[in-house]
């Protein structure tokens, strides 16, 4: 879409874009380019510049079991928390959209979790899911040793998944509800006149019409699970126990800033960037379908 009427002064037009361009050059393109450069070079321990090593950094990362472990953990985390957060949100939004008594109330409250900072909710869940106090402690009294995220990797993974999903149910709920409400009321009524009941209408009309939103949220949830998980991991598990929750961004952070391995961290960043770019392109393919439905 383009404007028919525009202003003729090029200077003013370009000047308006300059602040943004300066910012993205300095804080986006330069660092992104820098990451590429670092990923292909190795920094000398005592200064003296970087030496070109080609794809060595990538080779060493990709042959590192820790890195593959981190990828696996990230994918498990992304898969389960996205599935959980989206499914629960979809059910809640679909039911809220039925507009029975009280639905306005749910519409307000169910989005609160998304406003909470990841580290804050991580702290809350760290307490709620603590093995010695809080609520899982009750379970541990019945079955001693049943739950300990500090020792058991699966428990730790479950903890961060619960915390992340709790927040993103709120997020997905906002989008699903908006998508349901964007479906013209008359379509639902027409389906009811055609003899379709509540469940059948959901299957035949509402669900197909929100598939673009589903694809959109799928991509956003996965990318967010890569980034927004950092605060949760850092507060709840610090990547442990035994690297069980050492997700990709957390590993980049610890390798880069704790281990001071800039080149390795840069190479990992590049791989993560590529992953996100692929996901985004996947999403744009489905945006066309969204337009098609209008």
């Amino acid at each position: 879409m383009e404007k028919r009427v525009t202003f003729s002064s090029w200077t003013i037009g370009i000047l308006f874009a300059v602040p943004q361009l300066l910012l993205i050059f300095t804080f986006f393109y330069w660092p992104a380019g820098q990451a590429v450069y670092w990923s292909l070079t190795l920094q000398q321990p005592w200064g003296g510049g970087n030496i070109w090593v080609g794809l060595d950094n990538f080779r060493s990362i990709l042959s590192n079991a820790d890195y593959w472990n981190s990828i696996t953990a990230s994918l498990v985390f992304a898969g389960i928390s996205t599935g959980l957060a989206m499914f629960i949100a979809l059910v809640l939004a679909a039911l809220t959209d039925r507009q029975l008594a009280g639905s306005r109330f749910y519409r307000v409250v169910l989005i609160w979790p998304y406003g909470i900072a990841a580290p804050a909710l991580a702290m809350a869940f760290r307490f709620i899911l603590a093995p010695e106090a809080g609520f899982m402690a009750v379970v541990n009294q019945v079955w001693p040793g049943f739950w300990d995220p500090g020792l058991d990797g699966a428990d730790a993974m479950a903890s961060i998944i619960i915390a992340f999903s709790w927040k993103y149910v709120g997020y997905n709920f906002i989008f699903f509800l908006a998508a349901f409400q964007a479906i013209p009321r008359s379509l639902i009524e027409a389906a009811a006149m055609d003899g379709s009941g509540v469940m059948r209408r959901f299957r035949d009309i509402q669900f197909p019409l929100i598939t673009p939103t589903i694809f959109f949220l799928l991509v956003i949830n996965i990318t967010e699970s890569f980034q927004d998980s950092f605060g949760i991991v850092d507060i709840m598990t610090s990547g442990g126990p035994a690297n069980a929750t050492n997700l990709m961004v957390y590993k980049i952070y610890s390798d880069g800033f704790k281990g001071l391995d800039y080149s390795g961290a840069a190479a990992q960043s590049i791989i993560l960037m590529l992953l996100i770019i692929v996901l985004t392109i996947f999403q744009f393919r489905f945006i066309e379908r969204r337009v098609h439905y209008r």
């Binding site: 009524e189 006149m193 019409l209 098609h292 209008r294």
Partner: protein, 366 residues
């Protein structure tokens, strides 16, 4: 085919009542049009028949069965929506056949019936398209097809033509009429367009403010409007209304500047009335003609086949529709002449029609 009986039906929302006790009998096979301005409750009434709105009071019966508590699918009605409400993700064939699919009709029979409906509506070449790829008129037809395929007891139309351009609207109007003649199914059609209403209806229901103002054939509604509202709402340009007071020997109009010699029956002196006359019932004559009212021409609107002449009658605006070859100049004086039989009288108090007057020709005040 089914009859519909509506008894004292009311609809109220949390804050306001939008339908105040409507009674209506619709005979089997009848084409009834509900006409009224926006917000008069006509769509709400239709949606209550369909089962899309809960009924707050009274009963609606289809074929003698009270349907108040029945779900839309149990009432045997089909509906054509204003915005067509076609399922955007389904093809034309799927749209038309959806109700059969829900009802579990086998695929083979479904295809056959879709084909038959498509043939009637000339949609055969479009069956694989999505609604997005159709023109307004084609979408309209698909919406009709979706209603037809179920062979419903009752067809409900909620302003289905209002999104079409003028030419297409006229064409669809006659197609709906023809279709009704063929299927002969009971139909209720809601519109705010009086031409649509007049041309389609077996019987017209005029609603205003949540109440039924008049029920009758289009001819009756036009020639004997039951209320002042109906008189001014039906007919274009609108009926002229002149306020008057009943006097001993007749009627004084426009604050006493004009008089009508009428025989009054049973109305007390001093009663306020409105006298209505349709623009097309007035003839323009030379000023000063005996028995005519003289008025000053304000504006002439050319319509091609005729013209509307707006005149000033002692400060009141009055319109005349004429097809004669007269072209009065604005500012000139003309005479207005009409037959006493064309006068309508309405009580200023109840705003309903009064049948008690026998009018004679007006006389200019002395």
């Amino acid at each position: 085919m089914a009859s519909i009986t509506i008894r004292d039906v009311k609809k109220s929302y949390a804050k306001s009542q939008v339908v105040h006790g409507v009674d209506l009998d619709i005979a089997s096979g009848e084409f009834v049009v509900i006409l009224g301005p926006s917000g008069c409750g006509k769509s709400t009434l239709l949606r209550m028949i369909a089962g899309l709105e809960d009924i707050s009071g009274g009963t609606i019966a289809i074929d003698g069965t009270v349907v108040n508590k029945l779900e839309p699918r149990e009432r045997g009605c089909a509906m054509v929506f204003q915005n067509y409400a076609l399922y955007p993700h389904m093809s034309v064939a799927q749209n038309i056949g959806y109700s059969l699919k829900v009802a579990g009709v086998p695929a083979a029979e479904r295809t056959q019936r879709i084909q038959a409906v498509a043939r009637t509506l000339e949609l055969e070449h479009l069956l694989d398209r999505k609604p997005m790829a159709l023109s307004g008129g084609q979408r309209q037809r698909v919406a009709m097809g979706r209603a037809m395929i179920r062979e419903p007891k009752v067809f409900l139309f909620d302003e289905p033509l209002s999104n079409l351009d003028a030419k297409l609207r006229v064409q669809m109007r006659s197609e709906i009429r023809k279709l009704h003649r063929r299927l002969n199914a009971t139909s209720v059609f809601v519109t705010h367009d009086q031409v649509e209403a007049m041309t389609l209806a077996d019987r017209l229901v005029v609603m205003n403010g949540g109440r039924v103002e008049q029920v009758g054939t289009p001819g009756e509604v036009y020639s004997r409007p039951a209320s002042r509202f109906v008189a001014t709402f039906v007919g274009a340009p609108a009926m002229n209304m002149l306020e008057g007071t009943v006097e001993l020997d007749g009627l004084s109009l426009l604050g006493g500047s004009r008089r009508l010699a009428v025989q009054r029956a049973g109305l007390a002196v001093g009663t306020q009335v409105a006298v209505g006359i349709r623009p097309e019932a007035v003839r323009l004559v030379a000023p000063g003609t005996a028995g005519a009212l003289d008025a000053t021409v304000d504006l002439v609107e050319e319509l091609g086949a005729g013209r509307v002449v707006y005149v000033d009658l002692d400060g009141a605006s009055f319109s005349v529709m004429t097809s004669e070859a007269v072209h009065p100049e604005p500012g000139s004086t003309v005479g207005l002449r009409f037959s006493p039989d064309d006068l309508h009288f309405f009580s200023s108090e109840t705003r309903t029609r009064l049948e008690v007057f026998k009018a004679s020709v007006p006389e200019p005040a002395l």
